[in-house]
Every structure is written in C-alpha cells, then in structure tokens.
Assembly symmetry: C2
Homo-oligomer: 402 residues x 2
Amino acid sequence: MSYIPLTPDLLRHWLSQHNALSQILGGTPPTWRIREVSNGNLNLVFLVDGLTGKLCCKQSLPHVRVAPEWPMPLERALYEARYMQTIAPYVQGLTPQLFYYDSDMFLLVMENLTPHEVLRSALIGDRAPEGFSSIIGRYVAQSVHGTSWISQPFEKGSQLLTEFSGNTALTRITVDLILTDPYRPCDRNPKPLPELEADIHFLQNDPAIHVSVNKLQHRFLTQKQSLLHGDLHTGSIMLHHSDVRVIDGEFALMGPIGFDCGLYLANLFIHALAVPHKAHFIQAEISAFWHSFASHLRELLKQSSRGDAWSLSLPSIDRQKLWDEFLHSILQDMAGFFGLELIRRTIGFAQVADYTLCPTPKAELVARKQAVLTGHTLIKQAKHLHTFDAFLNLLAPCFKAL
Amino acid sequence: MSYIPLTPDLLRHWLSQHNALSQILGGTPPTWRIREVSNGNLNLVFLVDGLTGKLCCKQSLPHVRVAPEWPMPLERALYEARYMQTIAPYVQGLTPQLFYYDSDMFLLVMENLTPHEVLRSALIGDRAPEGFSSIIGRYVAQSVHGTSWISQPFEKGSQLLTEFSGNTALTRITVDLILTDPYRPCDRNPKPLPELEADIHFLQNDPAIHVSVNKLQHRFLTQKQSLLHGDLHTGSIMLHHSDVRVIDGEFALMGPIGFDCGLYLANLFIHALAVPHKAHFIQAEISAFWHSFASHLRELLKQSSRGDAWSLSLPSIDRQKLWDEFLHSILQDMAGFFGLELIRRTIGFAQVADYTLCPTPKAELVARKQAVLTGHTLIKQAKHLHTFDAFLNLLAPCFKAL
Ligand SMILES: Nc1ncnc2c1ncn2[C@@H]1O[C@H](COP(=O)(O)OP(=O)(O)O)[C@@H](O)[C@H]1O
Ligand SMILES: Nc1ncnc2c1ncn2[C@@H]1O[C@H](COP(=O)(O)OP(=O)(O)O)[C@@H](O)[C@H]1O
C-alpha cells in the first residue's frame, strides 16, 4: 500500500492485511473498535481494540497536524521506529513495544498503553503518583549509556550517526524553537502578555545570554555523546501507577546527554511554577530524577568494558574521578538546556498547558516571569555549577516563593 | 569495468576509455608513460605522463599494500574522493584537483603534482623551504571552518556526518594505533629498543596518563566539530617551493579540530628531535603554523554568519571572547593529540623515518626518550594550557637540549 493518510476504515483494512497484527487484536476486522486520539502536534494516532488485544497505530502526515500549511517530511516515523528499536534492548520495558513499522505508510504499530495517561495530563489533573521521575532517571541513564562510545565499539556509535543524522527536519525545529528564536525578535514567537514584554526585551538584549546560548547551540550540534530522545518533556511520557513509559521518539538524534535531562526537568519545574502548592512534590521529583540518573549511570559505567572511549583500565579511585567529571559536565549541560527549555516553553512558539492552571492572570504572569528569570539565570550560570545542590539552589528562590 | 587492482597496462586501457582524461594526457595511449610510485602504506599510486599533460591515479587495494594479510575495505578511496570534493571550495588550491572518481574501480584520478615532493622526504633531505607551515595553518583553518556548524546551516553538518561516519575501517586504525595500543602491552606494538623499555613500562603504568588518554579517546569520538583530514602528517603533504598541497584524505572524519593540528605539529617536532641542528627551523614552523591557523580562523569566523551554532549576533568584544575560548579549547585538544602522536610514532605500530636520521644509536635513543617524555607530559598537561606560549614552553626543554 503506498502512502495515504489513514482514516479509521483505511486502518481497519490495512490491519486486516497483516496477519500477526490481526491475531493480536483477535476477532474479525468489523469488530475492532478504532478511535483517533491524536493530541500531539504532529502526527495521527489511532487506538485499536480487538476481542483479545489492542494496538496503537501512529502515522506521519506530510505536514504538521495542527498547522497543515507547515510541511514536514514523512520520514519522522522512520526515526521514531529506529529510536525505539535501538534503545529497547537497554531500557527494559520503559517504552511501548514496537510490533511493526511500515516504511511505505510511515506507520508504527505499537503496544497500546491502557489505562495509561500522558504525564502532563496526570500532573495537570493532579493524578501523578510520587516517584515517577526515578524511573525516567533510569530510562535516560540506560538509553544514553547503551548508545554511548563508552559501552560499545565506536563502529556502533558511527552507525548511529549514520542512521540518525538524517533526522534534520525535526532537529531543525529544536534548533529554531529552542536554541534560537526566543533570543531575538522573530515572527514565530507569539505575542507575549504585555507585562512580559520588558522581561523579554531584557533577555533579547543581554549579550551575556547570547554568548551562553551561542555556546549551547554549538554544544548541542557538536557533542555527539549518545542517542537522545530529543523531546523528553512531560507530554512524551505515559504512566499508570508505577508503569512509566516514554513515547514519541521522533526527535531522536545523537547529542549531549544533558539535553534529555534538562528538557525533562524544565517541564517539571514549569508545573511547579504554575501550581505553587505542588512545589515540594515537584522538587522531590527533580531530585529523584537526578539521583536515579546519576546512580544508574555510575552502575552501568562500572560494568562497561567494551567501548573504545575509556578503554584503558584504571584504578578504582581514578575511575570514580572520571565518572565524577563526566556527571559534572552532564550536569552543566543539563542546567543550560533546562534554562533554554524553560524560556522557550514560556515565550516561544510551543508553550505548555501547565500555565492554564494558574488561578488568575496575575498568578500566571508571576509564574511566567519566574520562568524567564530562572531560565535567564540558569543559562548564564550553568558553566559555573559544580554540584546538583548548586543547581537546586538556583531553583530554590522560586520554590521558596511558592 | 568491475574492480581489479590496476597494473600500468590495465590503467593505460582504462584511461583510454575515458575521453576527458585521455584529452588531458594528449597523444595516443601507447605514448603515455606510466610509473607506479606507491610509497604509502595502503594504496596503489601511478603517475602518468602524456604528450600535453599528466595525471596521478590512486587506487584502493582490498588489503594494506605493505601487509597483504591485513584486509582493508576498498571504500577508503570513496572517502578520500568525498573529502577532496568537500573541502576544495574552501582551501583555494591547497589540494590536488580531483578530475574523476570511479566508484567501481575505487580509483581517484587527480592532478599529478610535479616536481613536488613529499614534505617528510623534503625535510629528511633538508630541502624544505621555510614557511610551509603557514600554508598548512591556513589549510586547516579553511577546511575546518568551512565544514563547521558555525559557518553553515546545521543540515550541512548533518550531511557530513551521514557521508563520513561510515569511514570506520580507517578510523579503527586511528582508534587502535593512536588512541589505545601504545598505552598497554599489545602484540601490534613493535619490540622497542631495550633501553626504551623502562620508559614504556613507566608510561603504560601511569594511571594519570590512562585518565588523560581515556578522555582524549572520548573527545576524539564525540566532538564532531568539523570535517578533519584525519592523518595530517608530513607524509600527507607535498610541496615545491611555496606550492604546498595536502594529499591522502582517506582517513577523513568529523572530529575535534585540534586533532589535525596536533598530528601535524607532532610530526614536525619529531623531525627536530631527530635532527637537533634544525630545532630553530622547526620551532619557527610550529609557531608559524599556529599563528597562521589562529589568525585565518579568526578572520573566517568574523565573516561567518550562516551557521546554526553561534547564530545570535554579539557585540564585538563578546565575539572576541567567544573566539578566544574556542581557540583555547582547540589548543588544549591540539596539545593532547600532539602528545598521542608523538608517542605512537615513537613506540607504536607505524613509526616514522625521521629517526633514521639520527647519526648514532645513542642519538636515536635520546631522541626517542625525549619524544616519549614530552608526549607523556603533553598528554597530562594539555588541559591546563592557556596559551600557545605555554604549549611551546612544554617543548622548550627539548629545543634547548638540542
Ligand atoms: N503507545 C500508546 N498507547 C496509547 N496511547 C498513545 C500511545 N502513543 C501515543 N498515544 C497517545 O497519542 C498521543 C499523541 O502521541 P505522540 O506520540 O505524543 O504524538 P505526536 O508525535 O503527534 O506528538 C499521546 O499524547 C497519547 O495520548
Ligand atoms: N597527486 C599526486 N601527485 C604526485 N604524486 C602523488 C600524488 N598523490 C600521491 N603521490 C605520491 O604517491 C605516494 C602515496 O600517496 P598517498 O596518498 O600518501 O598514499 P597512501 O594512501 O597509500 O599513503 C605519495 O607519497 C606521493 O609520493
């Protein structure tokens, strides 16, 4: 079947032609219940329920779903499939299982997560259980370790570069929306609240910010440390109780490990700004993420021995020092990208729903001002951070004010 | 024509089938003079003289030319051709012109450089004219700037990653021979002079060296700053008076800029160790390289405005600071890779002919000991260097002793 955007009926037909998938669903095609649930910005998503099983089908559109005039190559589905296949061996069930990828239809068929919900919605609805961030910390540690130059012969890392460097359409979004647009007047930036204009003007005219953002641009593009999810925010995670899964890997690229960490934590932090009474809960999640990430990464590094980076064996004390320095540089990257994400989700093109939770326009303004200010500080201070506590301290004024 | 290793007669036939090339040569095929001049380790090289013009033909063998039991993929010719095509627009005639690449024969047909000679031979024969290193400095600045993320949209950098990440067979040589083997007992390391054994033992048992080499391994593999030549030693340069050309780009890969710089300078430095009376000459070349490299790079950075890294405009003072920091980090990489190259060319698998110039075995031993010691120091101190003069100072004890 050559590419055509699916409707429920077309999908029913397509599934009926694929034996292994039909068997998962059970019963006959007419009995399958198919619902479109696309709520992301970019793609079509269908949930399919059969007699004995269920599936989730995600298909690329030739444009941005919510902005049809913005063309977008279909290949993003291919990169999402590759990402899932690449990291599955490392993350032990923390992604949905991928059953099938159709390269003509740009269609992924994967495990249908029910009754999971998207973390951002769970947070907004106050239903997120404590401790999910430890699992995300483990996820990031496992996925970036498994795809690093430390854990495998460099030929595998080179293979990842070959496989993922073509994902430029989605990386272009990151480069523009996260790394560039918020720091200069730009048509894509939405009109801000009038009371935020002065803050934005200040940001866009601070040479020190421009120096730091320029360096983060260069780090993002040159530091090919590991395979990243590339869009790890609270909308890319689904959970049900302690079953936490990462979805939506279509932005996957080789990059600096701190990027995945920073994006995730910034999205948590915005939630705390928007819902001040949850500050302690979120602060605990932020800490849980880092401690889980760091301890899992150390444990994995302890076991790795097949990489061409760090291939010379060291006395234990020197290995510890090497890991400390590595985590230190990840922390600094994390802080910088955290700042960038905070700002772009507050004044950039793709903002987040969390701000709608603010009870009054005044409260929303306060939250947004704090986000811009904290982002501004983090971006400039990132390179001077030496411990995770120092990072938390930079967030503390907000947590205290809350 | 499907792949077959060329002989002069086969090449004559092949050339006669290619009109544009036959026309460059002029006359009839029987009048062409064809000589095999392969003196590198890996490939076949033929020089062809015709009535009106001449060509150089370089072909991959399915194995290392000087070690037929060591298989080597033919594709290295493809990467060399790609490298030449990629950097030609930037380096203004500092490589031979590439006339043709035959992807079935793994054959490059390029400008025949006559009466040029290889820089290493010119140095050994005491025929190298002063100042050639300024030109190499310009070459490195232009090639790494043009292929960086600072000078072009990131999609172009991603394209380079896609095109060059597959060059793993030659990168494997670098990873093993430069970044790993000399720092541990290894069958590939040749048996050293008995008087050098203690120095090697000391090197291979210094945890501080292992820490530094491990970090350089990681930098080499993760820092995809620019397209590198990857094997820029004095055997990869040909010159005649002031006409200086870089050849043999088959090791091309995306990597840290300081790698090309460090390899080049280390090979110059070894020459000074082997021929002490040329110390001043070589020291001047080392300085000329860096000053030319740094000033050309600054000039090019001043003009660049199309990159996705450093895309935010800055007041002049902040731009200067950004360039200073960039050059500073290149300097540190250069010093580290300089140290690695010094050591591997002295105790590793592929050593250099310069040592044969030492007038006595005692002199050779002194030279080699200095190389190992200086390499050892450089590798450990690289991260603490802040100026080019500090780098020169680390070499100074040798220059003074000479
Ligand atoms: N495996 C899945 N199981 C159940 N629902 C899913 C699954 N994957 C995605 N969804 C639903 O579809 C929505 C959009 O998916 P997502 O991958 O985020 O798409 P987009 O790339 O368009 O952002 C998610 O927010 C979620 O509600
Ligand atoms: N363009 C050229 N013109 C003239 N001679 C060349 C040219 N390219 C290579 N040679 C000669 O061939 C030798 C081997 O070439 P090189 O590219 O270094 O091969 P290898 O990859 O085997 O090291 C050089 O040392 C030089 O003498």
